[in-house]
C-alpha cells in the first residue's frame, strides 16, 4: 500500500513539475504549483498512516495513526492557499500592464 502511495506521489509531483516547465500560461503554472503541493501533502499523510490504525481522536480504538504529520499538513494547506492567492494577485497585476497571461508576452523583463 505504501508503495502505491509513493508511486502516486512521484507521478503527481512530476506532473506538476512538467506543467511548470512546459506550459506558458501563468494560470497553468499555478496549477502545476498546486499539484506539486498536493503531492507533498499526500506524501505526508500516506506516510503517517499505519495499517489498522484509527484516527487520532481520543479514546483510541487499538493503535492510532501518527498525528504529527497531520498537524504539519494542516499548516501546509493553509499556507499553500495563501501562496496561491498571492500568485493570483500577481497575475491580475501583470495582466493589467501586459494585457496577457502568457509568459512569452512579458517582454519588459527581457534585456
Amino acid at each position: 500500500m505504501a508503495v502505491m502511495s509513493f508511486i502516486t506521489v512521484s507521478l503527481l509531483f512530476a506532473l506538476g513539475l512538467f506543467t511548470v516547465l512546459s506550459q506558458r500560461n501563468v494560470f497553468k503554472t499555478v496549477i502545476g504549483l498546486t499539484l506539486m503541493e498536493s503531492a507533498v501533502l499526500l506524501l505526508l499523510i500516506s506516510w503517517a498512516y499505519i495499517p489498522g490504525g484509527s484516527a487520532p481522536i481520543l479514546p483510541l480504538q487499538g493503535k492510532g495513526v501518527d498525528p504529527l504529520p497531520h498537524s504539519f499538513t494542516l499548516t501546509a494547506i493553509v499556507i499553500g492557499a495563501c501562496d496561491i492567492a498571492l500568485a493570483f494577485a500577481f497575475i491580475m497585476k501583470l495582466h493589467r500592464f501586459e494585457r496577457s497571461v502568457n509568459v512569452d508576452d512579458f517582454r519588459r523583463l527581457k534585456g
Binding site: M1, M4, F6, T8, V9, S10, F13, A14, L15, G16, L17, F18, T19, L21, S22, R24, N25, F27, K28, I31, G32, L35, S38, L41, I45, W47, A48, Y49, I50, G53, A55, P56, I57, L58, G64, V65, D66, P67, L68, H70, S71, T73, L74, T75, I77, V78, I79, A81, C82, A85, L86, F88, A89, F90, M92, R96, R99, N102, D104, D105
Partner: protein, 331 residues
C-alpha cells in the same frame, strides 16, 4: 481499509491532474483541479486524517477555486493575443520538460522506496498519542499538537496569513470602490437568506468543538470566510461591505492576533512560559465537555478570527478589482 478503493482514487487523482494540465480551456482545467482536491480529501479521510480531509475540502477545493474564478474573469475581459509563441512551440518544449520530470519522478520514487517497510512511529508521536489527555485535556490529538505542544508554530502560521493578506492588499488596493454588482436573482437571494444561519452555525460548531472533534480554528474560520464570499457573490459587494465592513474585518484579524499573543503572555505571567496551557492559568476541565482542554477553546477562537477575516478580505480585495473599469485601476 480497502486497497482497491485507494488504488481507484489514486488513479482518478492522476487522471484529473492530467486533464487539468492538458485542457486548453482554463475554466475546465481549474474545475478538474478542484475535483482532484475533493478526491485528495477523500483519500485523506480514508487514511484516517479527518482534520486534514476537512481542511483540504474547504480550503484547497473550495476557497482556492473561488479565488481562481475571480482572477480568471478579470484576465478574460480583454482577450489575450492568441497563438503559440513562434520561437519555441509546445512540441519543441515538452520533450525536455518530460525528460526532466520523468527523471525527477524516478529519483523521488527511489528515495521514497526506502521508507516502504513497516512503519514505526517515533517516540514523539507515541508520547502525543498516550499523554495528550493527561497533559492538555483535549480529545483531538491533532488540535492538541497545533494549539498546545506546537502553538508557537501556529502563531507563526497566522503571521504568514497576515503577510499574504497584506501583500494582496498592497498589490490590488487604492482605487475608489464605488461600483458594485447587483447580485444574483431574487430566488437565489431568498435561498441564501435561508441558508446563511445554518452555514454560520456549522462554522461555529467546527470552530468551538475543535478540541473534541475534527475541526478547529482553521477550518471554522474558512467556513466563516465562505459565508462572507457567498454573501458577496449573491447580494453584490456593496451589500456585503455595508453589513461586514472591510474595517471590521481588519479589526477582527488584528484582534485574533492580539488575543493569541495575550493568551501566550498570560502563561508567562503565571510562571509557565509562553503559551503555557495547564502549567499556566488554565485547567483541564472534564474531558469531552465544551470547556475543557485549557486555553485551546480561546486559541481556536483567535485562529478562527484571523483565518476567517484574512481569507474573506483576500476575496473582497480581489472581487472589488473585478468590478472596476479598466481605466480606474489603481496603479
Amino acid at each position: 481499509m480497502s486497497e482497491h478503493l485507494l488504488a481507484f482514487l489514486y488513479f482518478f487523482i492522476l487522471l484529473t491532474a492530467f486533464v487539468a494540465i492538458f485542457l486548453d480551456d482554463l475554466l475546465s482545467s481549474f474545475i478538474s483541479l478542484s475535483v482532484t482536491g475533493v478526491l485528495m480529501a477523500t483519500v485523506f479521510a480514508l487514511l484516517r486524517a479527518p482534520d486534514v480531509a476537512l481542511t483540504q475540502a474547504i480550503i484547497n477545493s473550495g476557497l482556492v477555486t473561488s479565488l481562481f474564478l475571480v482572477a480568471y474573469s478579470r484576465t478574460q475581459r480583454t482577450p489575450p493575443p492568441a497563438g503559440e509563441c513562434v520561437e519555441c512551440p509546445f512540441w519543441l518544449r515538452w520533450p525536455g520538460a518530460a525528460l526532466v520530470s520523468a527523471l525527477f519522478a524516478a529519483v523521488l520514487f527511489r528515495g521514497l522506496y526506502v521508507f516502504s517497510g513497516e512503519r514505526i512511529p517515533g517516540s514523539t508521536s507515541a508520547h502525543y498519542l498516550s499523554q495528550t489527555l493527561e497533559e492538555t485535556g483535549a480529545l483531538n490529538v491533532v488540535a492538541a499538537i497545533l494549539l498546545d505542544y506546537r502553538a508557537f508554530d501556529t502563531l507563526g502560521e497566522t503571521t504568514v496569513i497576515f503577510t499574504a493578506v497584506f501583500g494582496i492588499s498592497l498589490l490590488l488596493s487604492g482605487g475608489k470602490y464605488v461600483h458594485s454588482g447587483h447580485g444574483l436573482s431574487f430566488i437565489v437571494k431568498r435561498g441564501m437568506a435561508l441558508l446563511t444561519p445554518f452555514i454560520l452555525l456549522y462554522a461555529a460548531s467546527i470552530l468551538f468543538l475543535g478540541h473534541l472533534t475534527p475541526g478547529g480554528g482553521f477550518q471554522g474560520g474558512s467556513v466563516f470566510a465562505t459565508a462572507a464570499i457567498l454573501i458577496c457573490v449573491v447580494y453584490g459587494t456593496n451589500f456585503e461591505a455595508a453589513r461586514i465592513s472591510p474595517k471590521s474585518k481588519e479589526t477582527f484579524e488584528a484582534g485574533g492576533a492580539v488575543l493569541f499573543v495575550f493568551i501566550g503572555l498570560l502563561g508567562i505571567a503565571w510562571g509557565g512560559g509562553f503559551l503555557a496551557n495547564l502549567s499556566g492559568p488554565f485547567s483541564a476541565g472534564t474531558p469531552g465537555s465544551l470547556f475543557s482542554g485549557g486555553n485551546m477553546l480561546l486559541l481556536n477562537l483567535a485562529v478562527g478570527m484571523k483565518v476567517g477575516a484574512g481569507l474573506s478580505s483576500i476575496f473582497y480585495t480581489m472581487i472589488k478589482i473585478l468590478e472596476l473599469e479598466d481605466d480606474s485601476w489603481p496603479s
